[in-house]
């Protein structure tokens, strides 16, 4: 390890998230603190409706946060324009592309948008970055296909390739493993691990794959009703933070096997 202080890519302090309407603001979760360093893969887990998507949307600037601060590469999110943010952060959402008529190559190349001229002409550098994104996600055989021809797992990889082509230090993914079978869930998460290790990307993904997330993540954010914990998976297990993730009547966390087990 180098002695210099690690570079924090995403820093969140005393964050409260929720929805603001004309009449009142509804807090979904508050007191969220974490700081993610460059090249780390971070899994975000919690039960349905606990606010994982809301947290990701707040971090991506898609909805305002209620309190606290978010800084990306040391700059406060509220001081960052949408255009500047597009150079720092890319997203993979649960929603599929609006047009299923896009070809894979067209879709991935859309990731270069923040860097191209007014008609979106691609330079040689842009094309190289697109090719790299395609080979890193191993979708070379799909480039000529249209989106409506892809399986869920293939489409997910294509969306990750688009985020890679956007060439941002930080990538946020909202449940990238939903609708996938075990093999594809594992392969998408392994891809994320590879991107964080080899390409130095900082990646935050929400997931219901807690077992896989424990095995692969450098750090994890565990959201519960009472609190939000941030630490390495082993440390979280040792402190018993995963124990109360779900109501304990049905399912419990077995700390030895690092798995959730059905209660008989």
């Amino acid at each position: 390890m180098t002695s210099e202080k690690k570079h924090s890519v995403l820093e969140v302090s005393e964050l409260a998230i929720g929805y603001i309407s004309k009449k009142k603001s509804t807090i979904i979760s508050e007191g969220i603190n974490f700081s993610i360093n460059k090249g780390e893969l971070v899994g975000l887990v919690g039960t349905n409706g606990i606010g994982k998507s809301t947290l990701l949307r707040s971090l991506a600037g898609m909805q305002p946060s209620l309190q606290g601060s978010i800084s990306i590469n040391g700059n406060l999110l509220q001081d960052t324009s949408a255009f500047q943010l597009a150079n720092k952060l890319s997203i993979v959402l649960t929603e599929t592309p609006a047009s299923k008529n896009l070809s894979v190559l067209e879709l991935v190349s859309l990731g270069r948008h923040p860097y191209t001229n007014w008609v979106g002409a691609l330079s040689e550098t842009d094309k190289n970055i697109i090719q790299n994104a395609i080979s890193a996600t191993e979708i070379e055989s799909l480039v000529t296909k249209k989106c409506y021809e892809l399986s869920d797992g293939q489409l997910q990889k294509v969306m990750i390739a688009r985020a890679l082509a956007q060439d941002t230090p930080l990538i946020l993914l909202d449940e990238p493993t939903t609708h996938l079978d075990l093999y594809h869930r594992a392969s998408v998460l392994k891809l994320l691990k590879k991107l964080s290790q080899e390409n130095g990307k900082t990646i935050l993904f929400s997931t219901h794959e807690i077992d896989l997330a424990i095995q692969l993540s450098d750090k994890m954010i565990v959201m519960t009703k009472e609190d939000t914990h941030y630490n390495s998976p082993t440390e979280l297990i040792n402190r018993g933070c995963l124990r109360y993730l779900f109501p304990k009547e049905t399912i419990y966390f077995d700390e030895e096997s690092k798995r959730f087990v059905m209660k008989n």
Binding site: Q84, L89, N101, L102, L110, I130
Partner: protein, 343 residues
């Protein structure tokens, strides 16, 4: 946006088709003029009869140019709406834009009687027709758009568009009830749609409106491409959604409004041409689609007008009827063949 191949051959084919459709359109009409006479007349030579010169320059040529402007412009407004609403069934006619334009024109023509003759005559210049019609379509589009922010479901949106259409049609009926026969006839003829009644001065105005609308569309190419992924993705790539939406709305209402003002409400061109173009150009890139849709729209409109003209007879059918007769089967064919319309 990176596309697999270059489409220059496709464009050459389209331009050739456009030339053929144009020549066909100018050489066919109620009066039979030999083809070589038409060609020499068009390129400034003498024709055997001076009346032929007159027919070509003061009737057929303006009509063909109006067809090109109207077809290209309507097709582009359809493409813009399909991408903006991310709905393959969107188009100026379906979303009530044309009925909005009708309402504007109805207020102008039929309202002229209610507000008195002198004022009425002053109101009925080409410009006021354009302004009323563009304003009508702009207001309907704004209404549809404001609803679309609340209703995310695209099917609901289309139904709401149809409802707006019904409301405007009802208001037009009420206006018709209170106006005199002469004005009513004027309005009914306008609503049949015709490309033949536009003067050179009118063409100049239409040309300015269409060119400006196309310019606005061309500067929106990049955000339009981003919108193909959906609003959230577009935003995350630094696209200013509000500015883009406003630009697209301005372009659409300018195009649909001005064309409807001069040629009457024309159905199906805006809906069908973008889909036909996507069948031929297998790309979603607006940089390629936009010019391709302009040319295809112009070709289709020239063909429709040639048919409407009923060559060698004295009759001219309403252009709106012809575009519907040709356009509706095309949309049905696309739906049946692909089972699903994609945009």
């Amino acid at each position: 946006m990176q596309t697999q191949k270059s489409y220059s051959i496709h464009f050459i084919v389209l331009l050739l088709l456009l030339a053929v459709a144009f020549l066909l359109n100018v050489s066919l009409g109620s009066v039979s003029i030999p083809f070589n006479e038409v060609i020499s007349g068009l390129f400034g030579g003498e024709t055997s009869k001076s009346s032929w010169q007159f027919i070509i320059f003061d009737y057929r040529l303006p009509k063909a140019i109006t067809a090109i402007l109207a077809g290209g412009g309507l097709a582009v407004s359809g493409l813009l709406m399909q991408t903006l609403f991310r709905n393959p069934l969107a188009g100026p006619f379906v979303l009530g834009l044309s009925s909005g334009a009708s309402l504007g024109v109805a207020f102008l023509i039929l309202g002229a009687g209610i507000f008195g003759g002198a004022l009425g005559g002053l109101l009925l210049s080409s410009w006021s027709l354009v302004i009323a019609s563009a304003l009508g379509s702009f207001l309907v589009l704004l209404a549809v758009l404001s609803v679309s922010f609340k209703v995310k479901d695209t099917m609901t949106l289309l139904i709401i568009g149809l409802m707006f259409g019904s409301v405007t049609a009802a208001i037009v009926s009420v206006l018709s009830y209170f106006s005199n026969a002469e004005q009513l006839q004027q309005f009914v003829f306008w609503s049949f749609g015709t490309l033949g009644n536009v003067s050179w001065q009118g063409i100049f105005i239409l040309f300015l409106c269409v060119i400006f609308g196309l310019l606005l569309s061309f500067i929106s190419i990049k955000p339009l491409n981003a919108l193909l992924l959906g609003e959230n993705y577009a935003k995350s790539m630094g696209i200013n959604i509000k500015k883009t939406t406003l630009l697209i709305i301005l372009a659409t209402s300018l195009l649909a409004g001005s064309i409807t003002a001069f040629a009457g409400p024309i159905a199906f061109v805006g809906l069908a041409v973008p889909h036909l173009t996507r069948q031929y150009f297998t790309t979603s890139n607006h940089l390629i689609l936009l010019p391709a849709v302009v040319i295809s729209g112009a070709i289709l409109m020239l063909i429709c007008d040639t048919v409407a003209q009923l060559p060698f007879t004295e009759y001219t059918l309403p252009i709106n009827a012809i575009t519907s007769l040709l356009g509706a089967p095309v949309v049905i064919w696309l739906l049946v063949r692909k089972r699903k319309l994609l945009f």
